[in-house]
Amino acid sequence: MLFRLEPHSGVPLYRQIVAEVQAATVKGMLRDGDRLPSVRELARSLGINPTTVVKAYDELARERLIVLRHGLGAFVTIGRPALSSDEREERVERLATRLAVEGRRHGYSESRLVAILRRALRRLRPGSAARERTPS
């Protein structure tokens, strides 16, 4: 599992780690039961503060994307109910608003925006050409 972080950015590092894990599960690079690196391993390999990793893992555990097993590490748990349906809807709604705003700003038509969303959905399909390499 590769984490690509941009420390020199406005987004806190722990949020970047959360986003990387979320993206990897959606793309199938992380599967149910996979073990994430230990806090120490990840902090060392990225040269970052271990509390940042702890904060990210706690957040992922809260979202039920991983479970923390004491002494064993963090494991991916895909396919369990994560957030409440209201929370999920709010999240997607918020992103949809951003997509709409960004699209309008660039003068995109409604049909063009819908086409972009369709394309993004297609890219997530297992086996699609745009899918990223599976981790070794």
């Binding site: 950015s9 406005g10 806090v39 902090a43 503060n49 271990p50 509390t51 904060k55 705003v101 700003r105």
Partner: protein, 298 residues
């Protein structure tokens, strides 16, 4: 959470000039703090005051629960320090110096010292005076880390290190912080390095502490908003006092650097046509410049 360092009203005059002024500061155990500020803001003096290397003109310091002037040798051994200036005797050979430090510190880690000498390519038979500036820094880091401190105070530790040594240094600090309840205070001008590592940021300006906050909190609360000038005026009218850190205008748009809770900003922007507004978070360097440059009542 208990405090590794507490200062109350800490003040230092050099002759007539106040270098550190009424510093009230608390560093919790387990925190990794970047101590930032322009040259001459009092960073090095603050670190020396914490260690009792120079007497305070007024105020109190507690470091690992003690007055720095009454530090028991056992407590002193739990504190590692790398000074800004090279202070190692130039005539001594590297291996002799390492052996000497090993005899001084009860928790000395021989294996770590050996690894670090290899990492930084330090030749034991060289004399300290023959080392490059970067190697001298690396040797001081080796000495401070191998004593296995609980509190590490580093004053511009990475200056002079080459790119590879700096990356190794960041990994060492990540290791150090992984080892239980370790506290770090690091003063550095290399903001992109400390940005990876620190949990908190403290900023000194002209001897005063103008900010001390978790880095994630700063990244989430300080934002740059670009919007049309008319909308900016409308937004300004609704902003709480003191939250505009900087503002600039270019053409028909205004650029405001704001410090306020993320949701509060969303609410305030509700009345503004969203397609005209861009909101962006800032890297530490920009946050630092905004805070140091902000004209705010002290």
């Amino acid at each position: 959470m208990s405090a590794a360092i507490t200062t109350r009203g800490l003040t230092k005059f050099y002759e007539e000039r106040a270098v550190v002024r009424e510093l009230d500061w608390e560093v919790p155990v387990g925190a990794a703090v970047a101590l930032l500020g322009p040259n001459g803001a009092g960073k090095s003096t603050t670190l020396k005051l914490l260690l009792g290397f120079t007497p305070a003109s007024a105020g109190d310091v507690r470091i690992l629960g003690s007055d720095p002037w009454e530090l028991a040798p056992e407590t002193r051994a739990r504190i590692g320090y790398v000074s800004e200036k090279p202070i190692l005797p130039p005539w001594i050979r590297v291996e002799r110096l390492i052996a000497f430090h090993a005899s001084l510190y009860p928790r000395w880690d021989r294996v770590l010292a050996h690894e670090l000498a290899a990492t930084f390519v330090l030749n034991g038979s060289r004399r300290v005076g023959e080392l490059s500036k970067g190697q001298n820094r690396a040797l001081m880091l080796l000495l401070a880390l191998s004593q296995r401190p609980e509190l590490l105070l580093l004053d511009e530790p990475a200056s002079g290190l080459d790119v590879a040594a700096r990356r190794a240094f960041l990994q060492l600090l990540a290791d150090y912080l992984s080892d239980g309840e370790r506290t770090l205070v690091i003063s550095s001008h290399l903001l992109t390095d400390v940005e990876r590592l620190v949990s908190h940021v403290a900023i000194l300006r002209a001897g005063r502490l103008i900010a001390h906050a978790p880095l994630d909190g700063l990244k989430e609360s300080i934002r740059q908003v670009r919007l049309p000038i008319a909308a900016a005026d409308q937004l300004r009218a609704n902003l709480p006092a003191g939250c505009v850190l900087a503002s600039a205008e270019a053409g028909r748009s205004a650029l405001l650097t704001l410090q306020l809770d993320g949701r509060a900003l969303e609410d305030l922007l509700d009345g503004v046509a969203r397609e005209q507004v861009e909101v962006a978070g800032l890297p530490l360097e920009e946050i630092y410049l905004a805070l140091v440059g902000a004209e705010r009542p002290e």
